[in-house]
């Protein structure tokens, strides 16, 4: 009997303790990110948790492929749950996810004007859908051209600006027999190819889809010419190895870093790696410049970039903590840390004027200008489909199953159909 009462007493006390613990429990937020190979997210979270006791961030490292992470978030949202309270969101995710009502509009919690004042315009623009903001930008991104300074200097040529100059220079400087090609880019059938192609399309005076007028313009002569140039890199000028059809960002970066190409189209992350990677054979030999363009046009860079968005299905009492974290990721401190650890081209402008930053990476001075002049992919919920159509027909043109004219006509036809279907719902 005595034993039993003792047991009951212990059980009672233990229950009380556990209840007490439950009441004083920290708020825990789950955060879906990619593989944190450099540990930057862990560092940011540690800093945040130190400053905000009571809030814990649990990092969920998803797969490397952004498409797969997007699908993870989509599947979770379809079942109206939030296994991921916060998500590291690509700029192109915002319209489709916001339109489905799966992201929390944060207009009531953040000062949009302040965000505009402090960040590159396109990073904030890309966080807005239908008049509401859904994301706090953290990282900017823009396509640009890397070139081998040493090879150009040796040949005594200036970096080309227009398409015409570029094709001439690349043809002149390359030596494919000895393993040096003129130009590599992301040529696989996927989003990356579309990002690159859009830069040439815009730089040639064309456009794909205008979300305001809902017009598709990719069958214009300028657009067909842009596709022709893309095909010509492989088949006419032969400055690009046909294997580019299987290249994503990393393949093209490694190709360039192993000294096998004069020009490379890629994102800003390549700069740091090309100068610090042990494998890199091009340390100190790389120059950076904006995209090429047609005579009388401007260079354009496709805007990419990442930020922090919040799931619509987050528990109500967690929202404030989530906002706090999102804004923290945009703070000077967090943004500078991201640069110092990862060399990120962050969203905040003032980082690009920080003397310490400029000392570590002088290239940020040029990058600043490029990032101010980016364009973003058409903001529409059907972008994933439009992008798929574009990459599919570009591949057909690049593998010469279709002429550029046929490819662009079909591209426009299918895109128009997709647009009509979406709006006639």
């Amino acid at each position: 009997m005595k034993k039993l009462s003792l047991f009951l007493l212990v059980a009672f006390v233990l229950t009380l303790f556990s209840m007490g613990a439950a009441f004083a429990k920290d708020i825990t937020l789950t955060f879906l990110i990619g593989p944190d190979s450099t540990g930057i997210f862990h560092k940011e979270v540690a800093l945040f948790e130190k400053k905000n006791p009571g809030i814990k961030i649990k990092l969920v490292e998803g797969p490397h492929s952004t498409n797969d992470r997007y699908q993870m978030f989509v599947t979770a949202s379809m079942s109206k749950k939030s296994p991921y309270d916060i998500v590291w969101a690509d700029i192109i995710w915002i319209p489709p996810l916001a339109q489905k009502g799966w992201l929390l509009p944060i207009s009531d919690y953040v000062d949009v004007n302040k965000l505009y004042a402090e960040n590159f315009k396109a990073t904030v623009d890309g966080s807005i859908w239908d008049g509401k903001i859904y994301r706090v930008p953290a990282m900017s991104d823009a396509g640009l051209i890397y070139y081998r300074k040493d090879i150009l200097e040796k040949a005594g040529v200036k970096p080309p600006r227009t398409f015409k100059e570029f094709f001439q220079v690349a043809q002149k400087l390359q030596d494919p027999k000895n393993g040096l090609w003129g130009f590599v880019y992301q040529g696989k059938q996927y989003e990356g190819l579309v990002c690159f192609y859009l830069e040439w399309l815009w730089g040639n005076g064309g456009y794909y889809y205008d979300p305001v007028t809902r017009k598709v313009g990719v069958d214009s002569p300028q657009a067909i010419e842009a596709t022709q140039m893309l095909v010509d890199t492989i088949h006419k000028y032969k400055i690009t190895p046909p294997d580019v059809l299987s290249f994503q960002e990393e393949e093209s970066r490694m190709f360039f870093e192993s000294g096998k190409a004069v020009f490379l189209r890629n994102w800003p992350y390549v700069w740091v790696l090309s100068q610090s990677d042990e494998m890199s054979k091009v340390k100190g030999k790389v120059g950076v410049m904006p995209e090429f363009y047609a005579e009388g046009q401007h260079p354009y860079a496709t805007q990419g970039g990442w930020g922090v968005a919040i799931s619509k299905f987050i528990e109500k009492d967690k929202v404030d903590a989530a906002i706090k974290f999102a804004l923290f990721m945009n703070s000077y401190e967090a943004q500078k840390l991201a640069f110092m650890v990862n060399g990120w081209d962050v969203a905040r402008r003032d980082i690009y004027y920080d003397p310490e930053v400029l000392k570590k990476n002088p290239f940020f001075k040029e990058l600043r200008v490029i990032l101010e002049n980016t364009r973003w992919r058409p903001a529409t919920p059907i972008w994933p489909k439009l992008s798929d159509i574009m990459s599919r027909y570009l591949t057909k043109a690049m593998t010469q199953q279709m002429t550029p004219e046929e490819a662009n006509k079909k591209m426009a036809e299918e895109a128009r159909k997709a647009v009509a279907e979406f709006w006639n719902k």
Binding site: N67, M78, P96, D243, L245, P384, D388, T395, Q401
Partner: protein, 292 residues
């Protein structure tokens, strides 16, 4: 001991219940949910728009065609090659047991992993297969297996056949071993040739095995997903976009949930048609040979 009929039924259900519960949760419920997605729109009204759209979607017909081509070609080659290998493995020779084990390795590998391996083998710039073809002077230059539409279709055929031949051979081998030895002996006494034994004894007695294998393989080939997704993602263009990857893409990348469900519904219809077809063949053969 005589068991009462009611007790018998009670135990029948008791023993079947784990399977029934699992089938209801993981097969029946998703199937019904899928059909609901296909015919009910976001506002909760019944509509046939999604089914109708699917029938007018050229990409759906392209995917159907790709899937049928893929299934017919791979299953044909797998049956023929699998039969030959089964005969070889059925012959008695030294190290037969080890050979049988080694032979099963491709089938035991997870598809996604073996697809990554094939991707490496087919890669143009460093992959062994294109360069081997080039060095043997079978092609003018190392072919682009994964970026040429025809070649990439051939690539998925090769990878699938490589993986599944062992499975088919294993099933047929089991069938071969079930044929009583006495029958061969009596044919020997009658003076039948090896070829005669094959045509009049082995093949007719294997028909039940063939049909089961055919059914297994066809249904599996119709649902092919992982191999294609890893190797080509349905590209280049839509050259290798079978139905399952297409449904996945439509549902989870374009977020056309109803459209994806409608496409999946038609795919289920295809599968029902195949099952009926095979049943029909089975019945016809049964009438002719009296087996199965």
């Amino acid at each position: 001991m005589v068991i009462k009929r009611s007790t018998y039924i009670k135990y029948l259900f008791l023993f079947l219940s784990p399977a029934i519960v699992l089938i209801v949760i993981f097969k029946l419920y998703p199937l019904i949910q899928n059909i609901i997605y296909a015919i009910v729109n976001d506002d909760g009204h019944i509509t046939f728009r999604y089914l109708n759209d699917t029938l007018h979607d050229p990409a759906f017909w392209n995917s159907s065609w790709v899937t049928i081509k893929f299934a017919v070609i791979t299953v044909f080659f797998e049956m023929v090659i699998g039969f030959i290998f089964a005969l070889l493995l059925n012959a008695s020779f030294r190290g037969r047991k080890i050979m049988r084990t080694i032979f099963l390795i491709p089938w035991a590998l997870p598809t996604a992993i073996m697809a990554v391996g094939w991707k490496f083998l087919f890669q143009q710039s460093y992959g062994p297969i294109p360069w081997l073809l080039y060095w043997l002077k079978l092609t003018k230059s190392p072919p682009y297996f994964l970026s040429d539409p025809k070649m990439s279709f051939i690539a998925i055929l090769i990878a699938d056949i490589w993986k599944t031949v062992p499975f088919v051979a294993l099933l047929i081998l089991a069938g071969l071993q079930a044929i009583p030895h006495e029958l061969y002996e009596s044919m020997d006494i009658d003076g039948a040739s090896g070829w005669g034994k094959m045509i009049y004894l082995t093949i007719p007695l294997l028909i039940p095995t063939f049909i089961v294998t055919l059914m297994f393989r066809f249904l599996e080939a119709f649902g092919v997903f992982d191999l294609i997704w890893v190797l080509t993602q349905g590209g280049p263009g839509n050259a290798t976009m079978a139905l399952s990857p297409y449904i996945y893409k439509k549902t989870f990348m374009w977020m056309e949930i109803h459209g994806g469900a409608a496409t999946a519904t038609f795919t289920a219809l295809y599968i029902i048609i195949i099952i009926l077809l095979i049943q029909y063949i089975r019945n016809t053969l049964k009438r002719r040979y009296g087996t199965t």
